[in-house]
């Protein structure tokens, strides 16, 4: 297979979308938080918590959708903690975020280990299966690329559309964007800055947790330590790459997925000639290059990282 053949093969693009799915959830979650003016570096830990909680809920009998709900609630809970620390208390968003990552990760691991002390390989669940929609999934190319993905990939697509709609077409979205630009504007119109920000962080964190849950409930069927493996951090990078737009977030995630899928294929093709690490690096290098190209046009939420206190100037 030469490079071109790889790029036009349906299995390659199917892989790209699969790899992209958790990133889509994560980048949307991070985007919502940042649109409201709060950086959420808790994402890496929230991924782990979502992966652990969702999987464990299914294993305990909650069912797949029940598991997703549990994952989202878990993510939302950590989001709430981050929100309380950074919004009314106005503490450093960097530290709080990294603290949440530490807390969520270690709590998930500790809980897992304490609940299942004597397993040498974790119990497995029956994960989401590829949808196999009649007719559509038999279509050439798109059949495999899109219609044989699991329900979670479609949920991710739906979330992109939903988040786009909410942010651009609804009063709530306007309020969220405004609170990330100038909280005084929101306050002066009688809306609650705290309420909007806390709500956005909780919702965003719940989405992030779904990204984690994808790893244990769709991409794989069990929880492992360290399996998040930096995916959360990638999302933080992708948000900026996406200039805080949901559509571009989808694009960025799929692009990253494509880089990764391509990297694996190239490694097996020409792995003998080039050290494997060169391929592993590729997606990150490409992301930086892409960022440098789009950087000038990025439009920051102006109030990002700036806490706001009522009655203070």
């Amino acid at each position: 297979m030469d490079i071109l053949q790889i790029l036009i093969s349906d299995s390659f693009w199917a892989a790209a979308f699969r790899i992209a799915t958790p990133l889509i959830f994560g980048v949307l979650g991070a985007l919502i938080c940042e649109k409201a003016g709060v950086l959420n570096l808790g994402i890496e830990g929230i991924f782990a918590a979502g992966a652990m909680a969702g999987w464990m809920a299914v294993w305990l009998g909650a069912g797949l959708w029940g598991g997703l709900l549990v994952a989202a609630l878990t993510g939302g809970a950590f989001g709430l903690l981050h929100a309380i620390l950074t919004v009314p208390l106005g503490l450093s968003q960097h530290v709080s975020g990294l603290g949440i990552t530490m807390l969520a990760t270690s709590l998930s691991y500790f809980t897992y280990r304490t609940t299942l002390p004597n397993v040498s390989s974790p119990p497995r669940i029956v994960p989401f299966q590829p949808l196999d929609i009649p007719v559509l999934s038999d279509l050439p190319f798109v059949g495999l690329v899109l219609f044989q993905q699991t329900a979670m990939t479609w949920l991710a697509f739906f979330m992109v559309a939903l988040v786009w709609w909410v942010l651009n077409r609804t009063p709530l979205g306007m309020a969220i964007r405004a609170v990330g630009d100038n909280p005084d504007a929101v306050d002066a119109q009688g809306l609650s800055v705290y309420g909007l920000r806390i709500g956005a962080i909780v919702a965003g964190s719940a989405l992030m947790a779904l990204g984690g849950a994808f790893l244990t409930m769709s991409a794989f069927d069990a929880f492992f330590f360290g399996m998040v493996n930096g995916r959360g951090w990638i999302c933080i990078a992708l948000v900026i790459f996406a200039s805080w737009r949901p559509g571009k977030a989808l694009l960025g995630a799929v692009l990253f997925g494509a880089f990764d899928a391509f990297q694996v294929r190239l490694q097996t093709e020409v792995g003998a000639l080039v050290p494997s690490q060169v391929f592993l690096m590729a997606p990150y290098v490409m992301s930086i290059i892409a960022l440098v190209i789009v950087a000038r046009r990025a439009e920051y939420p102006r109030a990002l990282l700036t806490p706001w206190f009522k009655g203070q100037r």
Binding site: R177, A178, D181, D184, A185, A188, Q189, G190, E299, K310
Partner: protein, 516 residues
């Protein structure tokens, strides 16, 4: 449009619509408001006066729910004219009671369109889509009634300050305000714009709107209000019907003493200190462009640049302060052509700058007053030795400057952000004048300052002129330009046109782009 007659007293039979009762507020040790009571009647325009820091904004912020009063109550009339106590501390409650507020500092989200800013908070957050059509219809009605228009679909970030000001007002009116609070609404408007605004507002008062407006410009206070209330050091020190007031009496009420008038001596101008020759800057918009601009400023001369903001002033200021270079043309300081446009180089060639946005470009709020005073001369051996700051000398120097320039505040070791706007401006003046610059670029030097502070700035500028400096004064306040300048140049659409004489009306027309 026919305005209301401010010379006639408002019939006292008009209903009371708002009553502030003994509102008090402290911030730490500062008593911002001390038992202030004010009444407002239907259709009345009340203007609230006071020096910087007198407590005007604080009072209005309590009315609107931004601040929670320490004590006191507010009663507001409902649609039927019955007075009810207002729930304090909640902007939402104030909005529902029909109070609209235009804040001293814009409260607009720059990433949203003007329309979305206006709509913000007016629709239920649970709606699945905005109702733009109904909103446009309603806004069109307001625009028709008031003559205030703004580009609704443009992002606020792309609007000029004047346009933003109008969006702010539309926003308040959109919420069906029956009581409108305007905190220094004209600080960034041209005289014509200000006049139009007040005429429009006057027209609305005939429909029952009641207005409180805060301003430092006595001219408009006298022309466009029924009643004047004055605050000093947080206390209400007087109330007077506008028809009984004049500039002098109000000033005395505000300051507690007569304010001196700045003497402006005639001096022969010296050699040119600044020459712009065919300078062209092609910015991303007219606001940031200059076309073939020629200008000379001599020693002992004040050249005033009059114009509506957004006509190229910022491009001009950027060039002269070295933040950007021109695309074409030449700039000479003392007959030496400038080749490198960067702030340190222009500082070295003797240009002192008073920036337009003093909080953003003028001071570093989180650093101390003393530190802000030396920020432009870090390489000076007086200030540093072997790369280390000479703290003792710096502090002494700061003490001295603060005394000389009357910079008042919590002291030289306090953060500069704690100073009031007027004192920040004095800090910048001290820093600039201390280096005895050949040329002073004074960009909107008195914007938002009270009478006393503005007088002080003017006095210092005239003093520098007398000493031999050339002064390039950029201001939207035509009265200020007229009062201080030896020559006036009008800026419009990136072009500089010399005014023939100091005639208010004809310059006003030139500012609007009509050549005579």
């Amino acid at each position: 449009m026919e305005g209301p007659d401010f010379s006639a007293p408002l019939p006292m039979t008009n209903n009371l619509v708002l009553s502030l009762k003994a509102l008090s507020k402290r911030f730490g040790s500062v008593v911002a408001n001390d038992a202030v009571s004010i009444d407002l009647h239907q259709g009345e325009v009340l203007s609230l006066l006071g020096e910087n820091g007198a407590g005007k904004t604080t009072l209005m912020n309590m009315l609107f729910g931004h601040y929670m009063p320490d004590s006191g109550t507010v009663d507001v009339a409902d649609m039927d004219g019955n007075m009810h106590p207002l729930t304090l501390g909640h902007p939402q409650a104030a909005l529902e009671a029909g109070i609209g507020m235009v804040h001293q500092h814009f409260t607009l989200a720059e990433n949203l369109s003007a329309l979305d800013n206006i709509l913000l908070g007016s629709e239920s957050l649970l709606r699945w889509r905005q109702n733009h059509r109904a909103a446009r219809h309603k806004i069109a009605g307001i625009i028709e009634r008031t003559g205030l228009s703004a580009p609704l679909d443009e992002k606020v970030g792309n609007l000029s300050v004047g346009e933003r000001q109008r969006v702010e007002i539309l926003k308040a009116l959109y919420h069906d305000a029956r009581i409108l609070v305007l905190d220094e609404p004209t600080a960034v408007l041209t005289p014509q714009e200000a006049d139009t605004l007040f005429e429009n507002i006057g027209a609305m008062t005939k429909d029952g709107l009641s207005v409180i407006f805060i301003s430092h410009k006595l001219r408009e206070v006298l022309a466009f209000s029924h009643r004047i209330a004055v605050l000093r050091h947080g206390r209400k020190v007087g109330e007077i019907a506008t028809k009984d007031a004049d500039e002098k009496s109000i000033a005395r009420m505000m300051v507690g003493a007569d304010t001196p008038v700045n003497p402006r001596e005639d001096i022969a101008v010296g050699a040119p200190v600044l020459q712009l020759k065919s300078i062209t800057v092609s910015g991303d918009s007219a606001r940031n462009s200059l076309q073939d601009a020629n200008l000379t400023v001599h020693a002992n001369e004040v050249v005033g640049i009059a114009g509506v903001s957004g006509n190229g002033q910022s491009a001009l200021a950027s060039i002269v302060s070295g933040l950007a270079g021109p695309d074409h043309g030449e700039m000479l300081v003392d007959d030496v052509a400038i080749t490198r446009f960067d702030p340190p180089n222009l500082l070295k060639s003797g240009i002192g700058r008073i920036p337009e946005d003093r909080h953003h470009d003028g001071v570093i709020g989180a650093m101390t007053v003393a530190e802000n005073l030396i920020i432009e001369r870090l390489n000076d051996p007086d200030v540093q030795k072997n790369g280390f700051l000479r703290q003792e000398i710096i502090r002494e120097h700061a003490q001295e400057l603060c005394r000389d320039y009357d910079v008042r505040g919590p002291g030289i070791d306090a953060q500069a952000r704690l100073l009031s706007g007027g004192n920040i401006q004095k800090l910048i003046l001290a820093r600039v004048f201390e280096c005895s610059p050949r040329l002073i670029l004074a960009n909107q030097p008195t914007r938002g300052l009270d009478l006393g502070a503005a007088n002080e700035v003017a006095r210092r500028l005239l003093e520098a002129r007398k000493r031999g400096a050339g002064i390039l004064l950029i201001s939207e306040d035509l009265d200020e330009v007229l009062a201080l300048s030896d020559r006036i140049v009008v800026i419009h659409d990136g072009q500089l046109i010399a005014a023939k004489d100091k005639d208010r009306a004809s310059i006003g027309l030139m500012m609007a782009g009509e050549h005579t």
